[in-house]
């Protein structure tokens, strides 16, 4: 038998583990944005309300069966059933509904004019991200969204194929993305850091592998990052990378992928101009290194079932290494 002290220690350890599981880059219970904060509070109130109702029901059951196991007056019992079974639940549900609905206007309000605009298109199974600039030029990248700390971001969401859903649990609520329709989502990040966004609507075989990296940083840092992203790719600096750059064009990679500053201008797949600088590969599900590039080039289907990119397993290993080195150099 465990002593009371040992049981207490075990319980505390379990609670600490449970609390630790609530944190992380993709937790709605660890909010880092205004919308997520309201939603987390709503969840807490709903959970506490449900716990109170459940405890009251258990207490009443114990009272009826154990404490006061005697015949009741029928009329009083009927009134008790009506009150406890209909009136009290209606009042509790109404209070929770009113509280939940009162949150909605703030959660669905558009971002103020002048907010940073980000256009995100969901595609099977990655995210096309565009930052329209004031000069009319658009900076395109993939699977990574940078947002300004303490400011609103105006996200314009749509889809190129099926219905997806854009969700950064740490920052706000989710919003569906429809083909042919642009939805608007305002996010107000309040804590700098790296977070993880996901597709929250089943969209096909690799739905669970459709994530993206989110970086919340001060506006000045974001502007520097955006300026870098808007630049064309730098020429490779190593012989292996230079050979990879030539192979990239010779093997036809540029038919689907763009690398700005080179003849590669495909738009079917993700823009790879600065792919080496991203926080992950394969829609933020794999580490960004030469080994992953090589596996992706030769066996993309094994990393993302159903992926549209064809396998280039027929390439000599030396060519694959050169291509991987080139892509890794695209910082």
């Amino acid at each position: 038998m465990c002593s009371p002290a040992a049981r207490s220690r075990t319980l505390l350890a379990a609670l600490a583990l449970g609390a630790a599981a609530c944190r992380g880059p993709q937790s709605a219970l660890d909010p880092a944005g205004r919308g997520a904060d309201r939603i987390a509070t709503l969840f807490t109130i709903m959970a506490v309300g449900a716990a109170v109702v459940w405890l009251a029901m258990v207490a009443l059951t114990v009272f009826a069966v154990r404490v006061h196991a005697a015949p009741r007056v029928e009329r009083r019992t009927a009134l008790f059933i009506l009150g406890g079974g209909a009136l009290v639940p209606t009042v509790v549900l109404t209070a929770l509904l009113v509280y939940g609905l009162a949150l909605l206007p703030e959660l669905v309000a558009p971002a103020p004019a002048g907010s940073l605009r980000v256009a995100v298109t969901g595609e099977q199974w990655w995210w096309r991200v565009r930052y329209p600039g004031p000069d009319g030029r658009t900076v395109e990248l993939a699977n990574e969204v940078h947002l300004p700390l303490g400011q609103a971001a105006d996200l314009r969401l749509d889809s190129a194929d099926v219905i997806h859903s854009f969700w950064i649990p740490s920052l706000g609520g989710k919003l569906d993305m429809f083909p042919g329709r642009t939805s608007r989502l305002a996010l107000w990040p309040t804590r700098a850091g790296r977070y993880r966004g996901v597709c929250a609507e089943y969209c096909g075989a690799s739905h669970a592998l459709m994530a993206f990296a989110v970086v919340v940083e001060p506006r000045a840092a974001l502007d520097r990052w955006l300026a870098h992203q808007s630049e064309p790719a730098r020429p490779p600096t190593t012989p292996l990378g230079a050979r990879g750059a030539a192979l990239f064009l010779a093997d036809g990679c540029g038919a689907c992928h763009a690398v700005r500053g080179t003849p590669a201008a495909g738009t079917l797949g993700p823009d790879l101009t600065h792919v080496g600088s991203r926080h992950g590969l394969g829609a933020a599900t794999l580490p960004n290194d030469a080994g992953t590039f090589a596996r992706w080039i030769t066996h993309p289907e094994s990393l993302k079932p159903g992926v549209h990119m064809p396998a280039f397993g027929m390439l000599p290993p030396a060519d694959v290494r050169a291509l991987a080195a080139y892509l890794e150099e695209l910082q």
């Binding site: 209909a86 509904l97 609905l101 909605l104 309000a109």
Partner: protein, 128 residues
Amino acid sequence: MSPEAPDDESNQSLWFVVAAPLCWAAHFLVSYATVAVWCERYAGRDGSLYQARVAVAAYTAAALGGIGLIALAAWRRYQHGGGTEAFDADTPLGRHRFIGSATLLLSALSAVATAYSALTVVFIRDCH
């Protein structure tokens, strides 16, 4: 036979039981359609919902009025015959009272559901 004399059950109808939920369903459908058409055709994505909210308020008043009348008729059925015979008795009067009881409870549920549907436009004031 009229409902006040339930010995002959030939003209009794179970449609009475679902009348109140039908009011709720109609209120939901018409409110939904009104708001959708208003925002899509007239107000635009960021337009005001004011006119549609007024319409939903009118629908709500009509639906709650209808449900109230149904509940009143149900109460009369439930109280029929002095309300002394058990409403689950296997007799014409028992069945008559049972229908009244079921309709009364469904009316209460429908009234709450209709009010919950209408609560949405109390808080949502534009089409965004």
